[in-house]
């Protein structure tokens, strides 16, 4: 499928954007990456995602697709032959979608942000819940190399971007994710050995600096 026009409107620390970067890299799709300044959104972004005005936006042959889980499924359907992300069996697909939904609700959700953006009791409660959710994911991973089995799959793509934020969470929350969830960290490092992942995730130190900057700007202690 040569000469396909693929553009990604993105913002470097966004784990949602990272999902799409990984999916496109796995499929070896060439695309134009456009960094958005979220304080000064481009006309293109406002035109392509008028409802939410958010990144990432995937623009394929001029037509926009929004919402990262929708984008990952779309990429998988349009380019099915290379690195399939969802399994072929409907029941296995349902399991993958369930865990993708779980990651979105519990790991990327508003409650988990309290781990780095609050203090005291509120933060402790958020940390506890966060670790519990990571442990459930460890249970689902089991002894597999990846959630997708022998290769990266849908759940891997949906979850691994969060690894780039772990250091920020650990520093702000004063805890060690590796101590609590060693299998998950081992999984994340295994994913990082793949170019599609390592080239899509920013450096953890940079994310930590960004998180501190956001806290300052929003007056979060």
């Amino acid at each position: 499928m040569a000469d396909e026009d693929v553009v990604l409107l993105d913002f470097w620390p966004s784990p949602f954007g990272m999902r799409v970067r990984i999916a496109l890299a796995e499929k070896e799709i060439k695309y134009e990456y456009k960094e958005e300044d979220l304080r000064n959104k481009s006309d293109l972004l406002l035109k392509m995602n008028p409802i939410h005005k958010k990144i990432p936006v995937l623009i394929h042959n001029g037509k926009p697709v929004c919402e990262s889980l929708v984008q990952v499924q779309y990429i998988d359907e349009i380019w099915p032959h290379k690195s399939p992300l969802l399994p072929t069996d409907p029941y296995q697909r349902a399991i993958a979608r369930f865990w993708g939904d779980f990651v979105d609700k519990k790991i990327y959700g508003l409650e988990s942000r309290k781990v780095w953006s609050t203090k005291g009791e509120e933060q402790e409660a958020a940390k506890k819940e966060f670790i519990e959710c990571l442990k459930l994911l460890e249970g689902e991973l089991g002894n597999k190399a990846y959630f997708g089995g022998e290769n990266l799959g849908y759940v891997d793509v949906v979850l691994v971007p969060f690894y780039s934020w772990f250091y920020a969470y650990e520093k702000c929350g004063n805890f060690s994710i590796e101590t609590e969830c060693p299998k998950l960290i081992a999984w994340a490092k295994r994913c990082m050995e793949k170019d599609s992942v390592s080239k899509s995730l920013p450096d953890q130190d940079k994310i930590y600096d960004f998180a501190l900057h956001v806290k300052k700007v929003f007056g979060i202690e």
Binding site: H60, V65, C66, E67, P90, F98
Partner: protein, 209 residues
């Protein structure tokens, strides 16, 4: 291929979604009403993560989360499709489903938040009417799609007067047509009871949606 079972509750819109999807495809199933004040061992065993209904079983294998269940039903029984075949059209429909899911529950707020929730809801309904429905009969075109099912018991719940009063004519017509579909017409919930249940849920756990 295996027995189909649905564990649900008569007060949850999520349960209705699954029943409607199965009926639209003519799939026979056993329905088990769950007592939510006294969650059964079955429920806790098959949905240990969220402990919620609906839980769907096919050949004994459980699936949770209404949209995950509906996508499974669509893939396993592709006749009378609830999704378009074109990947871009599918992505658009899935986008609107997420939009409806994310914005929906705010309508069920009570108390001080209610006026603002209603304003937000109206805005959302205007967008859905304009951008997702347009001049089509159903969101899926001539036939019902997953999006129609999701919005069929949407956050406007019971607010047909809301649609009329705010001149959301196309949505009003859509809703009338939707409720006339035989399989839907014969299985419509008690809206007052449902609304009361959803508001109680909202009060109990405002942080989740």
């Amino acid at each position: 291929m295996g027995e189909v079972k649905l564990v649900g509750t008569w007060v949850s819109p999520y349960t209705y979604r699954i029943k409607w999807a199965l009926k639209l495809k003519g799939i026979a199933f056993d329905y088990i009403e769950e007592d939510l004040c006294n969650k059964s061992a079955l429920l806790l065993q098959y949905n240990p993560i969220h402990k919620k209904v609906p839980v769907f079983f096919h050949g004994g294998k459980p699936i949770c989360e209404s949209m995950v269940i509906i996508e499974y039903i669509e893939e396993t029984w592709p006749h009378n499709p609830l999704l378009p075949t074109d990947p871009y059209e599918r992505a658009m429909l899935r986008f609107w489903i997420k939009y409806a899911e994310d914005k929906g529950p705010s309508m069920w707020m009570v108390g001080e938040g209610q006026h603002k929730a209603e304003q937000n809801s109206l805005e959302m309904l205007k967008i859905i009417e304009e951008k997702a429905l347009g001049d089509k009969k159903f969101f899926g075109g001539d036939n019902i799609s997953m999006l129609d099912i999701v919005l069929g018991l949407g956050h406007w719940l019971g607010g047909e007067k809301l649609l009329e009063a705010h001149k959301l004519r196309r949505l009003h017509v859509w809703l009338k047509n939707f409720k006339q579909v035989p399989v839907i017409k014969e299985d419509l919930p008690d809206l007052d009871a449902m609304l009361a249940y959803l508001r109680r849920q909202r009060e109990m756990s405002p942080a989740t949606h």
